[in-house]
Symmetry: C2
Subunit: 310 residues, 2 copies
């Protein structure tokens, strides 16, 4: 088994290799003067079981093309099996038509990865389970929840916490965490009664005196979280912390979070943290390296990965 990485998250790739006790595969993924990508695999991969660690996070198009070109290079170098490991799957939010005459870009991306020559795909907390159905090749979707719930247990008095879904779309995920932690569940229900009127935050569930744990898969602008935190505190919550798998954190998101009333935002390293994220006082990153490393280990030994979620 050999593990390679493009440029999107070399820290995670190195941590995974550390877990597996293998060296990171040597491959050069560079740019020509016109910024076209050039890939050169610098060690023999003939007959090998190859894993390419490359989340398609910002800039998604560049990171996706790096992945596709690496797959092409590996295939032409006679790798036996190529697994594309996308801890963050870019374009996942475009998983259905957003209106008339719009694309389904997540399906397009699935087709591109397959067409380039991937034999398998490994993802983490996919935005929607349906995206697995976009692939005809085998997929393994890992869950960060065991990592996040372990972190919650280590840092909070479980008897006083309340798991909160930041919107009705996330209730299933939040319920799973609440069940796992054996605690209560609340929901932030954003409503705009008439177009033009400002949004009203209704809290379903009694959060007074509780340490609230917001859970979601993606934090992008941070606006939803920051507003939810305000509403929860206004409703008497003692503290609000957010556990979110993928820290997209576009635009002014980091500043928005640091200047908010969120006690802490905990994200994973599915997307390589920027220096701004690393130095933000109330953002903490937990690693998925051992989870992904163990999944790679089991996949390469043709073992099931499902027990990783117990």
């Amino acid at each position: 088994m050999k593990v390679f990485a493009g440029n999107s998250n070399r820290h995670l790739a190195e941590a995974i290799c550390n877990y597996l006790n293998v060296p990171l595969g040597r491959a050069s993924v560079r740019r020509f003067a016109d910024q076209e990508i050039f890939v050169e695999v610098q060690e023999n991969v003939r007959g090998e079981d190859v894993f390419l660690v490359q989340p398609t996070s910002f800039p998604a198009n560049d990171h996706l093309m790096e992945l596709l070109i690496m797959i092409d290079a590996m295939r032409r170098s006679s790798a036996r099996r190529i697994t594309a490991v996308l801890p963050y799957f870019g374009y996942a939010r475009q998983d259905r038509k957003a209106g008339g005459r719009t694309p389904i870009s997540a399906k397009l991306v699935a087709n591109l990865i397959t067409e380039a020559g991937a034999d398998r795909v490994m993802t983490l907390d996919l935005h929607a389970g349906q995206i697995q159905g976009f692939f005809d090749i085998p997929t393994d979707n890992l869950y960060a929840m065991p990592i996040l719930s372990r972190d919650i247990k280590a840092n909070y008095d479980i008897s006083n916490i309340m798991v909160v879904s930041p919107d009705v779309g996330g209730v299933v995920r939040a319920r799973a965490l609440a069940k796992r932690l054996d605690c209560l569940l609340a929901i932030v229900d954003k409503r705009r009664d008439r177009p033009g009127e400002s949004e009203v935050m209704n809290i379903i569930g009694d959060v007074a005196g509780k340490d609230c744990i917001l859970i979601d898969d993606i934090v992008d602008s941070g606006g939803t979280l920051v507003n939810a935190a305000e509403a929860l505190l206004k409703n008497g919550a003692t503290s609000v912390t957010a556990y979110i798998t993928h820290g997209v954190l576009s635009g002014g998101a980091v500043t928005r979070v640091t200047s908010s009333k969120l006690k802490e935002l905990v994200i994973t390293d599915s997307i390589q943290p920027t220096t701004a994220v690393q130095s933000a006082p109330n953002i903490r990153v937990v690693s998925t390296a051992s989870l992904i490393g163990e999944a790679i280990n089991r996949t390469s030994q043709e073992e099931s990965v499902s027990s990783l979620f117990d």
Copy 2:
């Protein structure tokens, strides 16, 4: 027939529509905060013969993804036929393995365009004719030579010009132009006798007293042209002008050309000229809009485009 464009060369798309006397199709190709592309086709295309004008020039990965997502959106909107029009085909120089364990990215790109759902592809002065063979769908490769030779005839005393290939790889293209103009041919033969030694420019052919016309398909750094111009002048050429189809002009290329001894660099609008290019005193842009427009016109009427090159 309907013509749409992404963001890579709206000027050319509008000029093509002008030639065809049709309005540019309405489609919004925007970015989310995290820079993922979002496409919305804003008019009915059901049953239509759709042409998407989108050279995959710098930034190639973004422009390619725009094209692929537009194709996806058009296909899901029941367009009858989709022709991807790539006046400049990004990644064309990666049309063969550059060494062991390297990709053939031009073939990958061909597969991606097909997989996204294009029915046909139209290109202009493809870097290598072989790239047409990378596609299993019909392709039309247009030639800029009739446009360029018309411009040469309008600006030069044909009886005193000499067509020059800037390297041995371009001799076939240069010979075709020389034949068309019924003039002599010279070749710049770069040689490095031993690794580490500086390159020597041998001029094959007597250029003394001649107005030299360098011809090639791509100008990228501009270094080759500028060096060739120096060598030709040193060998007694009266003037040196370059006619190059695709003005990639990476990095400091525009400055390199403006401060060189090139009388003029003439490029086409296959790549949308930057403002630096537009204001460069010795760079001139000739339009391919009527050539591409006429090719679109004939393609949509199921007529041959080959007579466009007479």
